[in-house]
């Protein structure tokens, strides 16, 4: 058992580190990559994102969503936001958002940032 425990510990040391989510870094990502179209408080070219975590897709009041996103039916969580940011049209075919965030680390960080606003 001791050998197994040691082996497990060594596996943990040498395994590729899981990408930690960093909300502080995510704020920087949001401010450089996302503010072209989004703000936290108001709808602009894209919908306001301050309440996106836990929000049903396509439902922020006052924003003109695509029919595809209005019909998507899911609730935004970390997994879905990361898939969305990887390739919006692949995740929700017919969605309008064309922007992809190519870095996995930046996706996780910006999701952590957006999650920090969830009450």
């Amino acid at each position: 058992m001791r050998i197994i425990a040691i082996a497990a510990a060594l596996a943990g040391i040498f395994a590729a580190p899981a990408l930690a989510q960093d909300a502080a870094k995510g704020k920087g990502v949001f401010e450089s990559r996302c503010v072209g179209c989004h703000s936290l408080e108001t709808n602009r070219v894209g919908p306001a994102l301050g309440t996106v975590f836990g929000r049903k897709a396509g439902t922020n009041p006052g924003f003109g969503y695509s029919a595809a996103l209005k019909a998507a039916g899911h609730t935004w969580d970390a997994e879905k936001l990361e898939k969305w940011l990887t390739n919006p049209q692949a995740f929700v075919p017919g969605a309008v958002m064309p922007f992809r965030l190519g870095s996995e680390e930046e996706r996780k960080d910006v999701v952590a940032f957006l999650r920090s606003f969830k009450k």
Binding site: S32, R33, G36, C37, V96, F99, L101, G102, E106
Partner: protein
């Protein structure tokens, strides 16, 4: 009072900004860009997806409408003067060229260009009431330009053909140029690392 602060120069510049948007005449550059977009070889045309591309172009057009409005709000705030105002007028004119090029491309591809919203909606969305100084205006402009540069770089993979990807790259270059000038004006620290834009 030097020429740059001459009231008639400022008034003329403001008139330029306050002239109603919507001039549909395309510049020679816009025509050339559109020719590149639509003059696709058969191989390119086969890979194209006009409905998807026009939807993306309309998102870009929305960005340009907002940028034009942002500079309009900046000028109407009367917080910008002289050379700074002239640069704002110039950058707004670039965005108008972008707007006209995008709207023309969308139309040629069979789509309907997105319309600009009422100014009061941009004023609310951009929190224009919070602008109290020239620095505030330039910081807002810099933030929007940087965001737009990154947005155009971010949408490049989503276009279905190389011509539109190239247009997105050129749009990103213009916005980056705008950001660089504005960043210097507000003494924003330049990026210390390469590959700051795009991801």
């Amino acid at each position: 009072m030097n020429r740059d602060n001459n009231p008639s120069t400022i008034v003329a510049a403001r008139r330029t900004i306050l002239r109603a948007a919507g001039g549909a005449t395309l510049s020679a550059g816009a025509v050339a860009l559109l020719a590149g977009c639509q003059g696709m070889g058969s191989a390119t045309a086969m890979r194209s997806d006009p409905p998807k591309d026009t939807a993306i172009l309309n998102v870009a057009l929305g960005l340009e409408h907002e940028a034009i409005a942002a500079y309009q709000l900046g000028a109407e705030s009367k917080l910008l003067r002289g050379p700074v105002l002239q640069v704002a007028v110039l950058f707004q004119s670039h965005h108008k060229e972008h707007r006209d090029t995008l709207a023309g491309a969308i139309t040629k591809m069979g789509g309907t260009p997105a319309q600009a919203k009422p100014m009061r909606e941009y004023a609310a969305a951009l929190n224009a009431a919070s602008l109290k100084s020239a620095g505030d205006v330039l910081q807002l402009a810099a933030k929007l330009e940087k965001g737009a540069a990154n947005a155009y770089l971010g949408v490049i993979p989503s276009f279905s053909n190389d011509d539109l990807r190239k247009v997105a790259g050129r749009l990103a270059a213009d916005e980056t140029m705008h950001w660089t000038v504005l960043a210097q004006a507000i003494r924003e620290t330049l990026p210390q690392k390469a590959f700051t834009f795009g991801a």
